[in-house]
């Protein structure tokens, strides 16, 4: 991994088209500004990981489990105390 030290206002250039600017540093928080071509998708890593996992799970789960032909019937009802049918 390449490790660089930058100060607020300084930038890193990735390839010819991606610019990362350190906007500011406050305690443990770093604000980054990213300029990239519109076709490049940019995600916070934790969201990207979660969606990736969910997509893969959705594709795999469909192999094993048939989709219901109708909404499932209600589970054995747990009638609310004291309520009467309308």
């Amino acid at each position: 991994m390449l490790i660089l030290t930058r100060r607020p206002g300084e930038r890193v250039v990735i390839g010819d088209e991606v610019l990362v600017t350190v906007m500011g540093v406050s305690g443990h928080t770093v604000r980054l500004g990213i300029e990239a071509p519109s076709g490049v998708s940019i995600y916070r890593e934790e969201i990207w990981l979660a969606v990736k996992e969910e997509n893969r799970a959705a594709a795999a789960a469909a192999e094993a489990n048939p989709l219901p032909a109708a909404p499932p019937a209600r589970r054995p009802p747990a009638p609310p105390e004291g309520s009467a049918p309308a």
């Binding site: 969606v51 990736k52 594709a59 469909a62 032909a69 109708a70 019937a73």
Partner: protein, 155 residues
């Protein structure tokens, strides 16, 4: 003009060529560039988003409004720029579904919907805090009582 592709699940599938949806960035972590929405479970609300060039890659999806009356999508600025879709209201929106052995456990991914507009599709991030990655598709509230009961179940 029609296009025929192979599906592990459905065999040969024929669709109108104009139904192919280009996903310039693919799906997150799954890739794929050309998908089609096919209806093999009519009347259930489930569609399949099938990769045209990968016989094994298909995900069940639903239109979120059908299952989530309060569904809303607010895209981040970077997604609006990337997709050229300023407002999700002009696009068709779907959410992926994770099938489970017990249908009551099926969830939909409201966090990362698919927006489709003018033959192009994108998976975007829903910035609304309440948009769950795994939202239960079915609830125990009223509305499903008329459906076939799972009569084998003991109380």
């Amino acid at each position: 003009m029609s296009l025929t592709f192979e599906s592990v699940r459905f065999g040969k599938v024929e669709i109108p060529a104009e139904d192919v949806i280009e996903f310039p960035n693919g799906l997150i972590g799954l890739g794929g560039r050309r998908y089609a929405l096919i209806d093999r479970n009519p009347g259930t609300g489930f569609l399949w988003l099938h990769e045209v060039d990968d016989p094994a890659l298909a995900l069940p999806v639903v239109g979120p409004e059908q299952f989530f009356s309060d569904f809303a999508l607010v895209m981040a600025e970077e997604d609006r720029e990337r997709t050229g879709i300023e407002d999700a209201a002009i696009a068709r929106v779907y959410v992926t579904v994770r099938a489970t052995p017990d249908p009551m456990d099926i969830t939909a991914n409201l966090r990362a919907p698919l927006v489709i507009h003018e033959g192009r599709g994108y998976q975007v991030i829903n910035t609304l805090a309440e948009a769950a990655l795994q939202a239960p598709l079915f609830t125990l509230s009223a509305g499903s009582a008329a459906q076939p009961a799972r009569s084998g179940d003991a109380a």
